[in-house]
């Protein structure tokens, strides 16, 4: 078999049915085989989008996403997508073409050292030295992408390796590697954690993307509901716990809710699950959860004690760890504690009701109103992807996601242009679902060309643009912290998004007044194909609450 045939055979063995890609000279042999293969190839319009689409696909389906790009510019175009997936721990296998081995290092046409370039933003990467190595490397690549803390793995395949022939042998079992992640947490630490949970007076669960990656959301929900422990989530954790559950406090951190941020300041036990306590969540670390004993469950030992002091580290798979905790914890807390816990929940309820998420209305469309209406119309069941900026924060605050894998956002890297290609990937993964990209007018222009992909494959994704006519999040910082000097954020020329949609062969609708929000959303969602819904919202609207960078998260600017 040729290298290209071996590649497709290995993809089939890994149950890959969809590939997002863009052709070129260095992968032409693979494309030649693909044309004869069962595997569906989705042609994007930019390699960055191929990676984001594979990312959205992986998140919506809970499998490894795969993409294929050519050497040189194809490979470099994929880097932002790879770095985004790396920051969010998304399992991907990125296949890049490379110039033939005898030309490597010669500054050959379309040669770049993509293995060198992506070393710091992949979990691991490979240059396949010969066709005999191809199958074993691919097998290891898939294993690494999905095991432990997932992440993108890049496999760079020289053109002559694709065309070389060899006898295909199914690869031997993987070499044993010390890297292998431990899934079973330490039994002694588990008992300590269980005791702390049992005896806490003001416990709080803080769930992150790790819960979703590990498929641990049901165990988490069970733990929280059994012991009536309130839950907050990081941006990446949204969907790990039902957003409409009374125990849910909303998101934590810089744009977290009043109740979530104050609860973190007041809790005596913080159970962090699948989180890494990054700076957008902790604010000033010295002032983070000052009264709490922190128990931290994570598969990646480097996440533990990186940013905050942890009393009980539980290195292990989130699902396994929560299962064990659920098994260990059986008796309800005693009467005295029961009373303390009731008081704790009452206090939180007060925070929730005295300072709920809110906004002032005037004669203009409020972006929050658009997201709220979208939430109601879809009954919280849509898959939401987001762009980056204010639109992302309003989506996180007002779309109360109910299921894991239903909120797909670039959390770690904050990549503008992520939402539309990710929505395409998610729609392919879940054809029955309503998929909506909540977008900003700036971000959407970073990968707007993917509308053509959506049209070509008849993917009915809906792009809801919260069009404030500016780079709103940066403008907000300029308003609040830079004396209102709006450098490069406002008054930028903008296309007519409705006409643009139509030019691509998609639908375009616009709403300019508050009373148009509902009908435009209703109409838009019922359209059979891809559509842009352009909502002209208040340009100066700011996202609140807001914790200024570096301040304690209990000190919020409110509406």
């Amino acid at each position: 078999m040729t290298g290209a045939q071996i590649l497709l055979r290995m993809l089939a063995e890994e149950s890959v049915d969809t590939l997002f890609g863009y052709p070129g000279g260095a992968v032409i042999d693979i494309y030649d085989e693909l044309a004869r293969s069962e595997i569906r190839h989705v042609l994007v319009r930019h390699e960055q989008a191929a990676v984001h689409a594979a990312d959205g696909y992986a998140r919506a389906r809970g499998t490894v996403g795969v993409c294929l790009v050519t050497s040189g510019p194809g490979a470099t175009n994929s880097v932002t997508g790879i770095a985004s997936a790396y920051a969010d721990s998304i399992p991907l296998v990125v296949l890049t073409g490379q110039v033939p081995t005898h030309l490597i290092g010669n500054d050959a046409f379309q040669e770049v050292d993509i293995v060198g370039i992506t070393r710091p933003c992949t979990k691991h990467n490979y240059l396949v030295p010969s066709v005999d190595q191809l199958a074993p490397i691919l097998k290891e690549a898939f294993h690494l992408a999905r095991s432990g803390r997932p992440g993108p793995v890049l496999v760079d395949i020289p053109k002559n390796v694709q065309s070389a022939r060899t006898l295909f042998r199914p690869p031997a079992p993987l070499r044993a590697r010390p890297y292998a992640a431990v899934s079973e947490p330490h039994a002694g630490q588990l008992r300590t954690a269980a005791r702390l949970i049992q005896t806490a007076r003001r416990p709080l669960i803080f769930a992150g993307g790790g819960v979703i990656r590990a498929g641990a959301a049901p165990e988490l929900t069970r733990l929280a509901r059994r012991f009536r422990i309130p839950v907050t989530c990081s941006l990446m954790g949204l969907g790990a716990f039902p957003g409409d559950d009374p125990l849910f406090l909303g998101m934590l951190g810089m744009h977290g809710t009043y109740a979530a941020n104050l609860s973190t300041g007041a809790c005596d036990l913080l159970l962090g699950v699948g989180v890494r306590f990054d700076d957008r969540v902790t604010g000033k670390t010295d002032a983070f959860a000052p009264q709490a004993t922190i128990v931290h469950i994570d598969i990646d030992p480097t996440s533990i004690r990186k940013n905050v002091p942890v009393r009980v580290p539980l290195v292990g798979d989130c699902r396994v760890s929560l299962e064990r905790l659920n098994d260990l914890l059986d008796d309800p807390p005693g009467d005295a504690l029961e009373e303390a816990r009731r008081e704790w929940l009452a206090r939180i309820e007060e925070w929730k009701t005295c300072r709920p998420l809110c906004y002032r209305t005037d004669g203009t469309i409020k972006p929050q109103q658009v997201v709220e209406t979208l939430y109601e119309l879809t009954r919280g069941e849509a898959i939401i992807t987001t762009e980056v900026g204010q639109n992302q924060m309003w989506a996180a605050q007002y779309y109360r996601v109910r299921h894991p894998g239903h909120f797909i956002t670039s959390g770690g890297l904050g990549t503008m242009g992520f939402g539309l290609p990710a929505a395409i990937g998610a729609q392919i993964a879940c054809p029955e679902k309503t998929v909506v990209d909540i977008a900003g007018d700036g971000s959407i222009q970073m990968n707007i060309q993917e509308l053509a992909t959506a049209v070509q494959y008849r993917l009915p994704v809906k792009v809801v643009i919260l069009n404030n006519g500016c780079l709103g999040m940066v403008r907000q910082w300029q308003e609040l912290f830079y004396g209102g000097r709006y450098s490069a954020t406002c008054n930028n020329a903008q296309p007519d998004f409705v006409k643009l949609a139509e030019a691509y062969g998609a639908f375009g609708l616009r709403a300019e007044r508050p009373e148009e929000v509902l009908p435009v959303l209703e109409r838009g969602l019922s359209l059979p194909g891809p559509a842009i819904l352009d909502f002209r919202v208040t340009p100066e609207e700011c996202v609140y609450p807001m914790v200024p960078a570096g301040a304690p998260i209990t000190e919020m600017l409110l509406v």
């Binding site: 060198g116 480097t302 990186k306």
Partner: protein, 162 residues
């Protein structure tokens, strides 16, 4: 917390690019490398990299965890304390006039060194030992003016049970 010197040694896959993965981890995460030494082992598939870094205890813990996450790092040990043997080799080239030769040779003797190369007007002195011993030798030779200096950085092994 105080930054302290820390020596660690690791067995890694003997593959192209592995040293740059390890070194890249240090530079990318802002860790410091005082010395790095990579060389083959008795197993052709495995190489050894030994690194000296200076950091406080939590940072060292983080460095070690990060290194263990690299797929090509097979085994990582720290080489601090009396249960390890550590050696470094230095070659020191000094200009030596014929009349100075006897006193320089006495110093070489004193520090347990050897003459690796000699000429009418120079000596290359070879010293090996713990890092402190190397530093002493360099200090004693410095007054003659060091022309060139090459140090390997330490390597080491954990002692076997007696």
């Amino acid at each position: 917390m105080k930054a302290q010197k820390h020596i660690m040694t690791m067995l890694v896959d003997n593959e192209p690019g592995v040293v740059s993965r390890v070194a890249g981890l240090f530079s990318g995460k802002g860790f410091n490398i005082e010395s790095i030494c990579g060389s083959p082992t008795h197993n052709p598939e495995v190489s050894r990299i030994t690194i000296v870094t200076r950091a406080d205890a939590p940072v060292i813990e983080q460095i070690e965890k990060q290194l263990r996450k690299l797929i090509n790092v097979l085994k990582l040990r720290s080489l601090n304390g009396p249960h390890c043997v550590r050696r470094e080799l230095a070659l020191v080239c000094i200009p030596v006039k014929p009349e100075q030769r006897p006193e320089v040779l006495r110093i070489v003797d004193l520090v347990g060194g050897r003459v690796a190369d000699a000429g009418l007007n120079h000596l290359i002195v070879e010293v090996s030992g713990e890092q402190e011993e190397i530093e002493t030798a360099i200090r004693l030779l410095e007054p003659y003016g060091i022309k060139k200096l090459a140090r390997t950085g330490p390597i080491g092994l954990i002692r076997e049970p007696k």
